[in-house]
């Protein structure tokens, strides 16, 4: 059943087994899974069935630190959430992501990969993709692997709209903006939903799940906690802290004697990552290097450039290019950030939205460790190319500079918002426990990438869906 809160506060149930707030991949997965198992769910979506300016405006905020895109274009606020414009790249987290890494003691999950694996096939089925191919080891000594992704075209709002309409167990209330929570101390009693006319209603449930997105989960918990004088979240919890992205940049070009696979969804490209051993040896976190084929004319230009600068190797490359062995590629590198206390979501002290809630202030800055990671990743790749006579790379000047990154458009941005309400074994280390329950409340849960304690190397959506299925499974037994 659908109800539009803008059309009035009456006419729909105000209590259910579960209240899920947010209808993106996380919230929708939890809500649908619980409803399919016979539980009553009220699903609150702040936006409408379609995108609107007035809803999107609520996502405005400020980024303090490094270059970032405007926060109201970095995410979508309507049915289906940001899946309305996601890129669809789907891959599971690596084994390494769940392990402790020397030098990055906090950057690991309190659960194991085997805790998520049982939900992989179902998550893939929701995303309507097959399991990506296993990694192929290209060079044992250099620890270079080719990896694959699957491409999902699922938009959660479109996919589940009919089911939301026909389901007797879900009441989906649109234009229902979360503006507050009430707790009796350890137990959330109700959520306040407010329409765009400023009228509010109270929703009661046995359990509450916040699935507002990788920034809004922190913002709304900070706000609700503030309203409740700190009685919502354990005072030791690092709420809003350890926010992360996957910085990624076009770092240059290369002429390579490597097979660049063709795909039906994108220009030919080769996806590379390093083995666990190499990552540990280099003392970096996870990373990838993408080689994207460039047009033949651009390859010729690159060859001419190389011949001019280094005639011997240039002529070698040109001779192979004549046999279609060498091709020109763009080099793109992206990496997992170290989780840092200083990168955080904060409530603005100067700007509020139409509901009087402080807008978000996102503090995000890359560190020397980010630059070192990028340099090590590329240096190792160059070592491989030279040692195996597989080509040469041409790097952008900033890569080995001391500071500064390109800062135009979406340079360096993957739109992957992670952390802020991270999962940990204790309230001192995180905001939610291994079942995504907020420390300090017995019936408040968080779904989405804000619970990620590290970024890993994978695009986050598949993990979000796996975690949401796991959460729904846990809640069914609650």
């Amino acid at each position: 059943m659908f109800f539009d809160l803008n059309e009035g506060l009456a006419g729909f149930p105000k209590s259910a087994d579960f209240c899920v707030v947010g209808s993106g991949p996380a919230g929708m997965t939890v809500a649908i899974e619980l409803a399919r198992n016979g539980r009553s769910v009220i699903l609150l979506e702040g936006g409408g069935v379609n995108a609107s300016t007035e809803s999107q405006e609520l996502y405005k905020g400020e980024v303090i630190g490094d270059h970032y895109v405007d926060l109201d274009i970095a995410r979508l606020r309507y049915l289906g959430g940001t899946s309305g414009h996601w890129g669809g790249w789907t891959m599971p987290q690596t084994e390494l992501s769940f392990k402790k890494k020397p030098g990055f003691e906090d950057a690991h999950w309190p659960i194991e990969k085997k805790d998520l694996d049982p939900f992989l096939d179902k998550a893939l089925s929701i995303l309507e993709v097959s399991r990506p191919n296993s990694d192929v080891l290209l060079d044992r000594e250099f620890g270079i692997k080719e990896f694959s992704i699957s491409l999902s075209r699922v938009r959660f709002g479109l996919k589940f709209r009919d089911e939301l309409s026909s389901s007797k167990n879900i009441t989906c209330v649109t234009n229902a903006n979360l503006t507050g929570l009430k707790t009796n101390g350890q137990h959330v009693v109700s959520a306040t939903a407010t329409n765009f006319a400023g009228q509010s209603t109270s929703i009661k449930a046995k359990h509450f799940v916040l699935a507002l997105g990788g920034i809004e989960n922190s913002r709304m918990l900070l706000w609700c906690n503030h309203q409740l004088n700190g009685k919502l979240v354990d005072s030791h919890s690092p709420l809003g802290r350890y926010w992360m992205e996957h910085p990624g940049y076009k770092v240059g070009h290369a002429l390579v004697d490597l097979k660049i696979p063709k795909t039906d969804y994108y220009i030919p490209h080769l996806l590379l990552r390093y083995t666990e051993e190499v990552i540990k040896k280099l003392s970096i976190l996870e990373c990838d290097v993408v080689l994207e084929e460039i047009p033949a004319e651009d390859t010729k230009g690159l060859l001419r450039d190389l011949i001019c600068v280094a005639p011997r190797i240039g002529e070698w490359a040109a001779s192979l290019a004549g046999k279609n062995i060498v091709c020109g590629v763009s080099l793109i590198a992206s990496w997992e950030q170290e989780p840092l206390w200083s990168n955080h979501v904060k409530l603005s002290e100067t700007s509020r939205d139409r509901f009087g809630i402080p807008r978000v202030e996102l503090h995000w800055k890359k560190t020397d460790r980010d630059r070192t990671t990028l340099q090590k990743v590329l240096t190792h790749f160059n070592e491989y190319l030279m040692a195996r006579n597989r080509g040469r790379i041409k790097l952008e000047e900033w890569v080995f500079g001391k500071d500064g990154y390109p800062a135009k458009g979406d340079d360096g941005i993957s739109y992957h918002h992670m952390g802020g309400t991270r999962m940990a074994q204790s309230a001192e280390k995180g905001v939610v426990d291994s079942n995504c329950r907020v420390f300090g409340q017995d019936n408040l849960y968080i779904a989405g990438s804000s619970v990620f304690p590290n970024g890993g190397q994978a695009n986050p959506t598949l993990t979000i869906v796996q975690l949401s299925l796991r959460l729904a499974n846990h809640l069914r037994q609650a």
Binding site: L282, V309, Q375, K402
Partner: protein, 44 residues
Amino acid sequence: MVFIWFVPFVFAPRRLLSKIHDNASAKNGAKFIKQGWVLQEGDV
């Protein structure tokens, strides 16, 4: 002769890497950067 580059470039101090990039055609023994290209002796 791959093995002559036994000391991996990857372990070159960052300061040094920055330095060789600043001086675009300066040679660092085995490997150097010239007009953005990462090259090694014998390439030019």
